[in-house]
Symmetry: C2
């Protein structure tokens, strides 16, 4: 069994090595990276890569899951050190933004345009929810500790009911209106990072993008009822 474990370990290492090289190629080729080039970099035949990933899409899926986990880990590590809900909200924002700045192509992979012809498999759903779940956790904590007191009525309309359903994933104590504003905050977070990364901020904010981002994060936090 030691031998079996060893074989499995070698395979796992090889898999990891392929993903590493692929991630590097992501920087130059984006989502349409070349499996052959990856194989070349590893000194192996292109056909050998197919022993580890059945197709380029499967390799992409692995990279996507890794990226979701990486940004989730980064945000969680940063948030773990901050007790105050308001500060934690801001900290999560900064952590996500800084991870994205450091790994722009991985960000594009998970929050950019979907890869044409690629259908995200079920495995990607869970890791994809980690960041918004952290924001939901902030709101839940703030509610329980009495930091959020002003809780408006649930929004009128069909989507208000849908928000109430989502609330059950957030934690039963979170009212629908707060679920909505939390999602607003997450959506704006993704928009702000993408705007900075994809060039929408060019020729406007150039020097102090971090400051502008934090200012925006504070605005979003104020909508969920959080403030310093």
């Amino acid at each position: 069994m030691s031998a079996a474990n060893l074989r499995a370990r070698v395979r796992a290492e090889m898999t990891e090595e392929i993903k590493d090289v692929a991630r590097r190629h992501l920087a130059t080729d984006g989502a349409n990276l070349s499996l052959r080039a990856v194989a070349r970099d590893l000194g192996m035949a292109s056909s050998a890569v197919y022993r580890y990933f059945a197709s380029r899409d499967e390799l992409l899926t692995a990279l996507i899951i890794d990226a979701y986990d990486a940004v989730g880990d980064t945000a969680e590590r940063a948030a773990a050190t901050v007790a105050d809900p308001y500060q934690r909200w801001i900290t999560i924002g900064h952590a996500v933004r800084e991870w994205a700045l450091a790994s722009p192509h991985q960000w594009a992979l998970i929050y950019g345009s979907p890869v044409p012809g690629y259908q995200a498999p079920q495995d990607t759903i869970m890791p994809a929810t980690r960041v918004i779940m952290m924001l939901a956790g902030v709101v839940r904590d703030a509610l329980e500790s009495g930091r959020i007191t002003d809780v408006p009525e649930p929004p009128a309309g069909r989507f208000g009911e849908e928000l109430a359903v989502v609330a059950e994933h957030f934690g039963t104590a979170v009212p629908a209106h707060l679920v909505g504003t939390t999602m607003f905050g997450f959506i704006h977070l993704c928009g702000a990072v993408s705007a900075e990364l994809f060039g929408q901020l060019n020729n406007t904010i150039e020097d102090d993008r971090r400051g502008f981002f934090e200012w925006q994060a504070r605005l979003a936090a104020s909508l969920v009822g959080l403030s310093a």
Copy 2:
């Protein structure tokens, strides 16, 4: 000169036809569409397409500019019918969202991940600013008509000065804080549409996405000081 005009017109028509077919291929192949397939659909040799576009990137640039203009035109047409600033803000949001839902691949082209190896030329900058300029116009009108009265201090920090510079493009009368919240609104608009289009809303809001979007747009409008 009639002959010359005719030749130029035929060329223009051919160019437009290529872009049309390319737009159709955008739906299946995304940004890495196949020039050869486009040529096949047009019944011409692939090399002939290069008489009209020097490279695939140049064709993409043309599609990008067209897309910016299309969403700009759509939003302007919708906004032209609405006098009230608050309603106009919401209307612009709906117009942008509905254009994106109708042309998801064109949206991905301009607001999604940048095409790898593709550098946006200068020509794309101006059309890219049309939507946010319309939002800025709403804010300017609301200021002049006294619909926005509560104007906070300019944000502290280097980015506050940068916002003041941007204000000159918005119209000199717009204070920096309002420029910031307007950009916030635009960034959130892009984020909301992208989230809906790129699947970030899956398994949460499914039935009443339009209602949820409008609710969010109202929230964003409230940040710039607009309300019903």
